[in-house]
């Protein structure tokens, strides 16, 4: 009496299902997407109030301020990346499933980027407009955010996996991730500043793209290892 051989989904199918599940969870809890966006808008609104509304000053500090705001907003949403799954036990199901855990980690990062990075890119022109940025500069800002938030989601998932299930994980997560995110911030903000000063963009964009590729190749494995350790 042989058991009927069980059909496992392929890696790609499982990854797609995971992303779909995370996206439908977000539809049920829109706050997870909206709160970081509001946070991004609030931080961007704080600076002109703090340093004064002069247009040249805003144009000058805009790229840096928006990038810092984006970094903090990404960090805010990373905290809950694995938390709900950890609490309701679905993380353990991912751990024991026959699909490679690194593929599942990649799926979580993709879902995270779709629900945090991409919305940031979409709302960034509105905020950039209030900073008196020209159309060309706004375009570059969106491009750098597009490439940079990919790296942030992937990098952040390592940190989130390391701190999942720890008390007071939020502050720790920031301490782990912010120093590592420094290259993304530098190149993201500096590229926009350079364009605003009338310089070329290619170098900075190439760097951001290369860094995103590096993170795509490292992060799923590091996240998987970290998830295994956190759930031992």
């Amino acid at each position: 009496m042989n058991e009927p051989e069980q059909q496992y989904p392929g890696i790609a199918a499982a990854l797609g299902e995971l992303v779909k599940r995370d996206l439908s969870l977000v539809v049920k809890r829109p706050g997870d997407v909206l709160n970081p966006l509001f946070f991004f808008g609030m931080v961007a609104a704080l600076f002109p109030l703090a340093v004064g509304p002069a247009a040249e000053q805003l144009q000058f500090s805009g790229p840096g301020v928006l990038w810092v705001a984006a970094l903090l907003a990404a960090l805010l949403s990373l905290n809950s990346l694995f938390l709900a799954d950890f609490e309701d036990g679905s993380l353990e199901q991912l751990l024991v499933s026959p699909v490679p855990l690194s593929a599942m980690a990649l799926g979580k990062s993709i879902a995270h980027w779709l629900t945090s990075g991409l919305p940031l890119v979409i709302v960034s022109p509105v905020v950039a407009m209030t900073y008196q940025m020209s159309l060309a500069v706004t375009g570059v800002l969106m491009l750098t955010l597009l490439l940079g938030t990919v790296s942030l989601s992937l990098l952040g998932s390592i940190g989130a996996a390391l701190t999942v299930g720890l008390h007071r994980g939020t502050a720790l997560l920031s301490l782990l991730i912010l120093p590592l995110a420094m290259p993304v911030l530098i190149f993201g903000a500096r590229t926009v500043s350079l364009v605003a000063a009338g310089d070329g963009v290619a170098g900075g964009l190439y760097f951001l793209a290369a860094y995103a590729m590096l993170m795509i190749s490292i992060s799923p494995f590091a996240t998987a290892a970290a998830l295994r350790i956190s759930n031992e």
Partner: protein
Amino acid sequence: MWKFFHKLASPPHFYRIAESLLPWFAIPGLLLIGYGAYAGLFVAPPDYQQGDAFRIIYVHVPAAYLSMMAYMVMAISAGIGLIWRMKLAHAVSAAAAPLGAWFTFLALATGSIWGRPMWGTWWEWGDPRLTSELVLLFLYFGYMALRSAIEDTTKADRASAVLALVGAVNVPIIHFSVEWWSSLHQGPTLVKKGGPAMDTAMLYPLLAMIFGFTLLFGALLLRRVRTEVLYRERRKRWVRDMILANTGASK
């Protein structure tokens, strides 16, 4: 050869070997530092541009070099611990982190003190090496914070090892991305084509300081790993036997 390493990996053996190795690091290290400090402060001629202010390099350069060296030691032993599940390697990286953080702090403090007369400011964000040292300090803090946040030692070892490895991949990237900023820092004078661009009367004390600091780091590391091993094995039989034998108490 392999047998030696296997023996070394066992905590009681390491504990004993480290004790006998310690003076071999500590004594030459302190002698070199003593010579380097004296020759650097009193014998070496003042710099034709910087005057006596340059003498801070005798602390600054070794500290900066060791801040990175300690991170490498930490990351490599974390990798060894993660791959071969070697507990001693984890103990080494746990012991290396605070040392590295202190050397980083020392490099930052001396760099800042040197910057005051040279640049006219205590801190200069435009200097890439100062900035990347600061990021390195935060990387050490993150590593130590993660370690102390996890109560279970084995789990803390493995989680922090993953972080150390991810950090090790990132450290050169952080360094070079910060370097893209226009630099105020002195160009490399020591590691350069055609030999160091420095007078021998200045160079020898510096080399003595670098080797002395490295040996001192080795000695401190051995000392810290010994303590770490002792703490981790505190419930083991060999520790109890050793303490009983040392104190002469009866069972």
